[in-house]
Symmetry: C2
Subunit: 232 residues, 2 copies
């Protein structure tokens, strides 16, 4: 089974993973081992310990070099939105680690295979294994291709609460009035509408956002306002 993952890594990512045992360890949960006395390796937890730290450093090094003019506050903020459960779970799914993981029966029945917290652990364990098998440079290249390109696609924005951030920033010197106003609402099909929302502070417009619900449109407006304030 892990030969398939090894082959996919070679085809899709040009990574020639050497140690299949290590790959299997990164994708094996403790209770699986208890139930399969024939399995001779370890579970993923030590590799998760390692991979967690490798993810922290790799992300910090990338952001430090990529954004030479950002202060540590902005760097930390972006790192937090990247190095967290939902982002890692999405990466695990993209690599199909959810298909490969060897679970105990109880975990399988309780739906762990689709649980973000398990998929986060698997991502970290996989990165720990990749670091041991291939070294830091391969890990960095792999993360650039899988994870860091998503910064420019706005992927990590979904994990940031921009309405709170905007409010915090605007009220840093005291209370101001922040309003979200609906400017437009258009049907694009029988079931779908697009809303346009404007966010303003003390009556002065900051940005507009669109979305398929007023909530989504507000979030988009808040993100655009926050990011344009940060870039000035």
């Amino acid at each position: 089974m892990f030969k398939q993952l090894q082959a996919d890594l070679a085809t899709d990512h040009h990574i020639h993973f050497n140690d299949l045992k290590l790959l299997e360890e990164a994708l094996t949960q403790a209770n699986y081992i208890n139930e399969h006395p024939g399995y001779k390796g370890g579970d993923y937890q030590r590799l998760e310990f390692l991979g967690d730290a490798v993810m922290q450093q790799s992300t910090a090094v990338y952001l430090f070099k990529r954004f030479p003019n950002w202060d540590e506050g902005r760097l930390t903020e972006l790192r937090i939105s990247m190095v967290q459960t939902r982002a890692f779970a999405a990466l695990s799914r993209e690599l199909h680690l959810d298909r490969y993981v060897q679970l105990g029966r109880g975990e399988e029945l309780s739906g762990a295979r689709n649980r973000d917290s398990l998929l986060e652990d698997l991502w970290e364990a996989f990165i720990g294994a990749l670091f041991l098998d291939q070294g830091q440079e391969v890990v960095m290249n792999f993360l650039e291709e899988m994870m860091f390109v998503k910064i420019d696609e706005g992927f990590y924005d979904q994990f940031v609460d921009y309405k709170s951030k905007l409010q915090e920033y605007l009220q840093r010197h005291g209370t101001v009035k922040i309003a979200y106003t609906k400017l437009d609402e258009q049907a694009i099909s029988n079931n779908e509408q697009v809303f346009t929302i404007q966010v303003s502070v003390d009556g002065k417009p900051l940005a507009t956002g669109e979305g398929k619900s007023t909530k989504d449109a507000e979030k988009m407006a808040a993100r655009k306002a926050y990011q344009s304030l940060m870039n000035n």
Copy 2:
């Protein structure tokens, strides 16, 4: 001034730090810059962001390889006792970073130069600068020599509350009686005594410890008991 630190790094650690500006940035606080318009570099905060992550990974990689039979719980526990304020402050003092830091006047007057939280930041910033100037391998060798050797000297034990750990471990299946009993008390000079304390669980002796106060002797007994239980 930073030429002296550069020279000390070469003499004491065989590190030939290239970029003096980077070394100065790692040891310059934001308010110093405000008060010295002639200073052209940045403050240490971006380097601290970087060094914090480098410390996490370097320590995790070292512990993972050094202790192949430890589970992730023990690895995490030791890492926590190493990667923290008081340990980093001690390392900063050992490298005399407290002498070099350029502080704003207010911070100087408030005693920041001897404050652990500042010295922790400086250690991380210095490691960030070392990583940029010399790369991962030099950082690892430097940490091995400055920091990881201290594991075997028991240096990080002082940051661990072994009495609580022992109690937690012994009571994991329910309440037991843990007792600390004084076995001996000897004067070693006019002002100094050595106490010997035994720790027992439900009347069964686990370990003895010595110390210049009963509190120290208890801590030592708890550490010896905890470590021998962990190694069995």
